[in-house]
Symmetry: C2
Subunit: 348 residues, 2 copies
DNA sequence: CTGAAAGCGCTTACAG
DNA sequence: CTGAAAGCGCTTACAG
């Protein structure tokens, strides 16, 4: 547990003195705003190295009225999707020497959203990223000044200007199509509450059925974290003769549904095909190994920062904002053993 | 997607003018460093409210040479333990109006540790929290100045001054004891690579066996994320006649071990008891429902910040640093159905 | 191309 | 208790 000795950090003036130039010249060298003659460049570089100088990002921020920092506003901060996206943002930000601030939002405390956003903005970040999967994220938008570079992650294809969307809806559509392609007449759905955006798995399921011209059965919506309800949904569906394929809103739900199905004597996948979503929670080791769909949140995070950075650069250069854009980050299916073609049942 | 209009924020001078006092007086009111007369207090409070004034944390930071911010250094940023601890830190920090910066470390890129730490320190945070579960975390310590308030999370009971430790080792000991209490002669272990601290599950397993005077069998260490190896370990152990109880280093491993055991014809828990750790990944829905051990990372995060804040306050007040301390955050066992008393096998 | 001056928005001695 | 002044460490017009 060695700790280095605490000596006071050198400042720009120290560098200037050692290099025999003025502080503004060092500043210009650092920021590349104006040309600095070659010999001075060299002396400055040498001085910086010798002193181990690192510019104060705080002083720079006060001067620039803006900090080289992004703040991420996210409800549900300990979800895998959130932390993995954060990680991607941080990695991309670090390359530009931007710091990441995390401000959590709380779905169950909507009153605090405004205060939290203001607190996050109090460092005057260069830009913000809002995870718009839920009401808190959407509420946050209202408090973010219009001229602040911003990108919205994960939400709807609404009227936002800069968005990075994940394949929630596309994925749901894909999984449902897959089941339909296997010959199932229709696909039932056990999903989670939908939230405020339309980029949802459940909508993807609806899309697929609609495209194939089959009427969507009523979806069964189970509260988050209530596995017992999902087991019950499995039993309910298992007792019906016409259920041969189920798209579950996530892997936990799928596994609970399978349990319910078995409790009423249905085999998976022999009698009923069940697929999940997220590819988390160890579905690959399940019996049968669970077919699922995985998303690339790391990539989403990186792309979000890059999209934000374009806006920041344009703003700093005094240019027009880049054209608005929506990037869709595709996930991919993980085909395993929990589903099968319709009619193959007797073989199992 | 409403965005509020961007007007420029009021500064301390605006408040001073409106309240009919000087800026330093507003500052004193805000920081409570010196008494301000009642009538002025009221006028200032009114002006702040009227203008919607929020102090610039950046300007304050430049003046104080310190920002109201904590930086967390953590490798493995998308792990549940990390993000949940972060969440706790953030929640506690927010109460003190501190911001949270996240800087990820990378186990596979030890060369970057120094640069990342320096970058994190470049905002001059009031304190830092280092997650010391791995080599990168430990390496980071070296670059943090001695006079910087710091708390170390999760690591060993080493020579650190301020530590918040989770129940890795205690938990491992508890689970092993539990199996021993059920009458098993010994407990085998399939664990993950141990890392650099001694606060590990595997050490807890050793502790328990030692306390009971039983010689520890060789542990089987499987690489992270290599489930096949764990399945293999299950097969290997299953072929031996003397294996009746296994403590797995986490739930994934436990489930893979169970699979291996079954492949060679052993029943769980009838023939072999298996327990996991972490209580993640849906072990409760497994068949048999997996006995495991859960930790409170949220609480760890909150405690870490509070411990840090004590140091920060002392430093700012010019007082001596608080006495060094180690807080151990206990987890708790989740007893389910994957283990049973030794000798009950024939009943199953 | 480069330096002296002023300013970003606070806080902290220093007088009163 | 309170105000005028100076300073935190940068950057950006403004002259040269």
């Amino acid at each position: 547990m060695a700790r280095s000795a605490g000596r006071t950090r050198p400042v720009i003036k120290d560098v200037a003195k050692l290099a025999g130039v003025s502080a503004p010249t060092v500043s210009r060298y650092l920021n590349g705003t104006v040309n600095v003659t070659e010999d001075k460049r060299e002396r400055i570089a040498k001085a910086i190295k010798e002193l181990g100088y690192e510019p104060s990002i705080v002083a720079r921020a006060l001067s620039n009225r803006e900090m080289d920092s992004v703040v991420v506003f996210a409800a549900n901060p300990s979800a895998f999707s959130t932390s993995e996206t954060n990680h991607g943002v941080e990695a991309a930000a670090r390359k530009r020497r931007f710091l990441l601030n995390i401000v959590s939002l709380d779905e169950s405390d909507m009153d605090s959203v405004k205060a939290r956003v203001r607190m996050g903005l109090s460092i005057r970040p260069a830009g913000v990223i809002v995870y718009e999967y839920d009401r808190a994220g959407i509420a946050a938008l209202e408090y973010i000044p219009k001229d602040m570079p911003m990108v919205v992650v994960g939400g709807s294809f609404g009227d936002g200007e800069y968005q990075v969307i994940n394949a929630e809806r596309d994925g749901g559509r894909w999984m449902t199509m897959h089941l339909l392609d296997l010959g199932h007449r229709t696909v039932f759905h056990v999903g989670r509450p939908e939230g405020p955006t339309d980029n949802t798995r459940t909508n993807g399921w609806r899309d697929a059925l609609k495209e194939r011209g089959v009427t969507a059965p009523d979806p069964i919506i189970v509260p988050d974290d209530d596995l017992e309800e999902s087991v019950k949904a499995g039993r309910t569906l298992g007792r019906r003769g016409d259920v041969t394929a189920i798209f579950a809103g996530n892997d936990e739900t799928a596994i609970a549904v399978i349990r319910g199905l078995r409790e009423v004597g249905r085999r998976v996948p022999a009698d009923v095909s069940v697929v999940g979503f997220d590819d988390r929670n160890f579905g690959a080791m399940w019996n049968p190994a669970l077919t699922s769909y995985t998303q690339n949140f790391l990539d989403m995070g990186e792309r979000s920062f890059r999209m934000l950075f374009e806006q920041i650069q344009a703003k700093r250069a005094g240019d027009d904002a880049p054209p608005s854009q929506v990037e869709v980050v595709q996930g991919k299916p993980c085909l395993r053993a929990s589903e099968r073609a319709y009619g193959d049942g007797e073989i199992a």
